[in-house]
Symmetry: C2
Subunit: 684 residues, 2 copies
């Protein structure tokens, strides 16, 4: 136990006290890496996903990349405008779940929550697998270890998030800005070279030859739709700013707007630049399952600047940015789960802060499910992409629709005509956003359905059913537990005390003494597993000892001597006769509680558990599970070497001042019952 | 839970009641299979083990088989005579552990116990692997599955023993007697053919050609000693009769003598016959690790009668007898462990009768360790043989030495001269037995030491140290727990009651009501995980509700209102401030017990465990482990749907009549303390 605690301490750091919780407020410069990584990272796999769909068209397919990328960038612009409104309307928490809850009711909010959860899990898997894809492009020797690398990165990201250190934007800033700067530099050089070469630049490192066209132009429209759907994955993560508005410095809304603008602008430049250069250099996507695979970003950079230092900066930072884009999920998923858990739709453990004040259960759950996805899909980005973006676009649509409802309501409340006009414009903008993302969602669903999107279409309703099941359990529990008004002290009758033991020694003596100090009606139960003649002789010896060592001193102390009952366990399960006795006592004395005292040797090391038979534990467990509401289990611990309180505390807790001071217990006051008799005994 | 219970029921049968324990007494006819299987089964691998050592001598080695087998049969005769004495001297329990305990003291008895335990484990592994060896000789296609077959047979034998059904000799009788009869028939035919052919019979199925001699005759003496040591494995199991004398019908000693005689005679005939025919037909051992392996019994039978029905009867019954010889261990090992556990040298769980009245822990432990051995040695008999027989011969020697001591003592007590002479003869016979087995043990140790016997020489002392460690723990525990005389009722002061909870609802109300029904000094502890301004507003609301809903009704009922303490858990571990509070209360009131009430929602299905945060369980556990001797934990269970007692019972327990009748609790009697106040309240 001590060693597992010290391993935890090494991995996760010392536990943090509640007062150490202190969310640092972000400036836009810090917020872009903290919130934009997901979006910026997707610039590396979005275009690639679109181009992968176009592989069957061969070289001809590249001519169509513009048809795919222009609507995507237009949609991005629409999203930017829409989310500006969201930030303005919900400057505290503009996440899809909350917006839907406020405006569209619980069902819509659960759809948003389920869709977001699914997409957060996918984002981790896609981000890490795309990052590893970038790495194996640069170092092909690592290609056979794709899955192992993915899982190793997942574990590192999980541990870092359990430590809670990556929350800060500053840590993320360096790789993010280096990536954006170097990538834009490469794109700029490429565009310049293309223009200089009159539209047909010669690559420094030749990209892989394009496949032969294997489909006719007639199928191209459908391919273009599918390519658009795949490219939409580049837009996931744009909603992150609206989720975390509360983390911004004052002026909150302005800072959020600046951040959102920067993210969208950088993303648009990256998408447009990559698409343009792919066309100019004749670069297509390659099959990730094949050896010698090169990511599109790697091919573009190689073609433009060769495999010099800039190439390795771009590829290196892409790897880092993608892995860190998984981090966006690790920040947002546990927060979303906490909100949902606080609304009683998820187990309450999701709302508990762990040793480092992060929501550890959510983090671990995210790591487990995304790890499972990585294993199932063997760490191949292309296989995960078809499942991706559906959740994000569902949330986009629900969130924008919620804002339409919001502005309509505001419109009703607005007083001046100027305000009315403003609200009307906002309503139209968000309606356009809802329509655009809704349309995109339909296209994505249709285009990707048979490729894997059906999985998500199945999973989201299942998640919703699960959430509602959890909610109805808590509703039942809460209605059963709800405070019924003032305490009812009148119904308290004194309990009947049953002392249960298998052998009579100092342990059971202690239990009996405690029982007699509480109440007069004490029944001692000797649980016997013996049989036949052994039992009878044993019984007789026991009764003789009982008369001498218990009844006599009790009578001498003017206490009612406890009764001894011997019950055999015919099937060696000593809990059974005890349960039957409790049941009988309860039925015969319905107004009284039955308190069962179980004396127990406390085991403090693992090897002690091997040497004891755990009968007390079995008794406790059975009594708790089947004893019924009129019963109370009392545990009398007995220690071979008594523990010190310090053993239970972590070093931090030992240093902290104990929270409780000044408890005065009336020392002179005595109970009037058995106690008064005891006091009398003493003075006699 | 229900399904795992029904799987157990299917595998092991219904639980047996104590009264169903009824050991059937055995006649010699039943006792030979029940106790002699181990010995008879070893006739098939003993000669083979001896011959395996002689392989390097090639055909010349066969000439020496007589030099090896004659001393073995002589030693067997000596053992027969010695154990006749043991049975006479200890007609209840003549096992090596008991004889050593009675005559030589605890150390010798522990050596005997450890040696026996090691040999029982080895016997299971050797028996099963030799049985599978016999099977793969007959069906060579099964050879690659040697280990799998071994483990499958082990599992079947284990389950049958957990059911407790194989205990009866009658089940074992058929294969045992068929094996002995058919094997002796084959041997008789073989001997007849040899004599008719003038000592050089021609085999029906030619045995495998013998290997070339690869060693010189000079090395032969050492090889012969090693061969003798290997052949001694044939004698293991002879002690079984002395272990189980109590199982015989009257007249016990005579029946035991007859059984012992039958077993030894049959074993001697088998050993002599196999050795003779091996010599006559030129049959040597083969390497079990090679494909095409044939056991010696298989080769002899094939050579004598060909591969007809008799061959398959012999090989088939050898397989069964060997697997069943493992069963002898399964019967004796748990009984030995139980005796050792009753003397506090093994964990007490070894002395507990399971659902079928067998000592399940011992059976499972034996299955696990022998399974591990089979896996480590890949189910190859030859690799296991060098470890075998050391334990048995150690026990033989200790047991015979113990009897020498016994007869010396008897000699001192004997009155008539006739008795004296008798005892003197017995003493000499047992001394000869001790000397013979002791010498054999030395030879075995020397001959096998480097081949694996060193493992056993290391393991036995380790086992002894383990046994003594267990004993000293129990000794410490028992001396700490020993009954100190009459109950000390005077020191019982009423406890301070602490009600611990995180939220106030019907659950905590129930706990408070129970606390107030017990005692006046009630402290309610609100364990808080909140921080900063949240906590303060929460605290204020709580105190307001407390004043209104708890203090007011308590005062109205003329009870001392319970105090409310709010303690924050700085590190979210709510058990810490509670432990600190208990510690403080204890230090300030050293004469009073602190009773901590923990209300708890009882979870009755697995999914409920996922939905609750288990704080009550963590509280309970921490309090029990670190609360110290002056503290008692009280569990107030709360049920969403109250359980019925029937759910805790098996069908058999439901049908049985409950063991407790006639418990009268004085219904009119009231406690004088809080209760009298309550009653007053009512009448007002």
């Amino acid at each position: 136990m001590a060693s597992s605690a010290s391993v935890l301490r090494l991995l996760l750091g010392r536990p943090l006290a509640n007062r150490e919780h202190n969310e640092r407020k972000l400036s836009p410069f810090e917020a872009v890496p903290a919130m934009g990584l997901d979006a910026l990272g997707s610039s590396s796999y979005g275009p690639e996903a679109a181009l992968t769909i176009l592989i069957p068209l061969g070289a001809a397919g590249l001519a169509y990349i513009g048809f795919v990328m222009v609507p995507i960038i237009a949609l991005l612009a629409l999203l930017y405008v829409s989310y500006r409104q969201t930030v303005r309307a919900y400057p505290v928490n503009g996440g899809g779940y909350n917006v839907a809850k406020q405006n569209l009711g619980p069902i819509a909010s659960l759809v948003a929550a389920a869709a977001l959860m699914v997409d957060y899990v996918l984002n981790v898997a896609v981000g890490i697998s795309a990052g590893v894809g970038a790495l194996t492009s640069a170092v092909p020797a690592l290609h056979p270890y794709t899955l192992e690398l993915c899982l190793a990165i997942l574990i590192v990201v999980t541990v870092l998030n359990l430590r809670g250190t990556l929350d800060a934007g500053r840590v993320l800033a360096v790789p993010t800005y280096v990536f954006v700067a170097s990538a834009i530099a490469v794109l700029a050089i490429g565009v310049y070279k293309t223009i200089v070469a009159g539209g047909h630049p010669s690559p420094v490192v030749a990209p892989a030859p394009l496949a032969q066209a294997s489909t006719t132009a007639a199928a191209a429209t459908w391919l273009l739709l599918r390519s658009f759907a795949a490219g939409c994955t580049a837009m996931t993560g744009v909603e992150a700013v609206s989720d975390g508005v509360s983390a911004f410095r004052e002026p909150v809304v302005k800072n959020a707007h600046v951040t959102l603008g920067m993210i969208c602008a950088m993303l648009a430049v990256l998408l447009a630049g990559i698409a343009y250069l792919c066309h100019a250099y004749g670069i297509g996507a390659m099959d990730q399952t094949q050896d010698g695979y090169q990511s599109v970003v790697s091919q573009v950079t190689g073609a433009v600047v060769g495999r010099g230092w800039l190439y390795y900066v771009v590829v290196g930072t892409v790897l880092i940015v993608l892995c860190l884009s998984a981090n966006t999920s690790f920040v947002d998923f546990p927060r979303l789960c906490r909100m949902v858990a606080q609304d009683n739709y998820l187990p309450r453990a999701f709302a508990l802060a762990g040793r480092r004040l992060v929501f550890s259960v959510g983090i671990l759950y995210l790591a487990l499910t995304s790890g499972l996805l990585l294993v199932i899909f063997a760490g191949i980005t292309d296989r995960l992409i078809p499942l991706f973006a559906i959740g994000a676009f569902t949330t986009f649509t629900i969130s924008q629709t919620g804002l339409v409802v919001h502005w309509r309501r505001e419109l009703g409340h607005s007083k001046s005509n100027g305000e009315k006009r403003q609200h009307r414009i906002r309503l139209v903008l968000n309606a356009a956003g809802a329509l655009g993302t809704g349309l995109a969602l339909v296209v994505i669903l249709l285009a990707k359905f048979t490729e894997g999107a059906w999985i998500v279409v199945l999973v989201i309703p299942c998640v919703i059913v699960l959430l509602k099941t959890v909610h109805s359990y808590y509703a039942e529990l809460d209605s059963a537990l709800r405070q019924p008004g003032p305490l009812d002290v009148r119904k308290s009758l004194p309990p009947i005390v049953v002392v249960a033991t298998e052998g009579w020694n100092r342990l059971s003596d202690k239990a009996l003494e405690f029982a007699l100090s509480l109440l007069p009606d004490v029944i001692a139960v000797h649980l016997s597993k013996l049989k036949g003649p052994d039992q009878e002789s044993d019984d007789r010896a026991l009764r003789r000892r009982w008369a001498e060592e218990v009844e006599r001193p009790a009578r001498a102390a003017r206490l009612k001597p406890p009764r001894l009952i011997v019950v055999p366990a015919s099937y060696r399960r000593i809990e059974v006769p005890l349960l039957q006795l409790v049941d009988r006592l309860r039925n015969e004395n319905p107004q009284r509680t039955v308190a069962v005292l179980v004396p127990e040797v406390v085991k403090r090391s693992w090897w002690q558990h091997l040497l004891h038979t755990h009968r007390a534990r079995r008794l406790r467990k059975a009594l708790r599970k089947y004893g019924g509401p009129g019963m109370v289990v009392m545990n009398i611990p007995w220690y071979l070497d008594p523990p010190r309180i310090e053993e239970a505390l972590t070093p931090e807790e030992r240093r902290a001042t104990p929270p409780v001071r000044n408890i005065r217990i009336s020392r002179t006051r005595r109970r009037r019952g058995a106690q008064s008799r005891t006091t009398r005994m003493r003075t006699e």
